[in-house]
Symmetry: C2
Subunit: 139 residues, 2 copies
DNA sequence: AACTACTTTAGAGTAATTCTAAATTAATCC
DNA sequence: GGATTAATTTAGAATTACTCTAAAGTAGTT
């Protein structure tokens, strides 16, 4: 269990204390490669791993990590937020049947001719979601 | 108030009876050009217009219309579904500040090199959302 | 060790949506 | 056109995901 230098630094620069709960959640989030996870799922994993942490703290932590750019929030499903440990620019497949998300590497999909934002507004992100489902009638 | 031939036909082909509530909601939805509206908003409009209809029926009707391809459901905001009266292929600007959606015509934005769906799955849609906010720190 | 500010937490509260079971209405059949 | 059957609507309860609150706990500082 080596010290998470990157996490620690990010926490410090965001003025977030490296508490037991934040470090345990960071370990669950960032030790498994690229992940897409909901708050309830992460809370479940913490419980399973024997980490005592409340659901409220999981929500707080996910939002703080998102603000600190350690996570990215993804909305693809009504009434549920996913958090993505991959913060680099990329897009997603969304499996409607299972509710799973999968990264599409940045170089495998290109959006061209992005219209400019209206006056006084700036583009915050360009999000592409390709929804897929078990083979049957498409669209 | 001419008879909504298209709506009536779609309802018929979806085995949905043209009830007072469905016809009134169809009128509110399809009489104003392209619209992006939530269930609560539509229910509010119905109330204002003096149409007696329950919120449950508004939800049922929106989903039935979506299944009948009269509407398209759009998820851009955690915990809120929008319904779009424009069912042709196009994408959206989402104004994070106001919660408003705006169409991007199909020919103004192009997604290239769409990766193919994994085996056994089909692509149901490719949705692009450009999130914009009042000018300040971008991304 | 003491102080102060930040954190965590249980549980209440909220918003959007879905469910349920009873009442209503539409379409069909004589 | 009234009776029958099946679809529809509805109020209100239930559910889900999430946020808030205020009290107790913990971290960093002196």
């Amino acid at each position: 269990m080596r010290p998470y230098t990157q996490v620690l630094e990010r926490l410090r620069s965001a003025n977030l204390r490296p508490t037991r709960q934040r470090l345990a959640l960071a370990k669950l989030l960032f030790d498994g490669g690229d992940r897409h996870i909901t708050a309830e799922q992460l809370h479940g994993e913490a419980m399973t791993a024997g980490v005592r942490v409340s659901l409220a703290t999981v929500y707080n932590t996910l939002h703080q990590f998102t603000d600190a750019r350690l996570l990215r929030e993804i909305v693809v499903d009504a009434g549920r937020s996913y958090f993505d440990t991959n913060t680099s620019e990329h897009h997603h497949f969304f499996y409607e049947d299972s509710g799973k998300l999968e990264d599409i590497p940045h170089d495998e999909l290109h959006v061209s001719q992005v219209p400019s934002a209206p006056d006084g507004a700036v583009i915050k992100s360009v999000d592409v979601v390709i929804r897929v489902a078990a083979a049957q009638a498409a669209q």
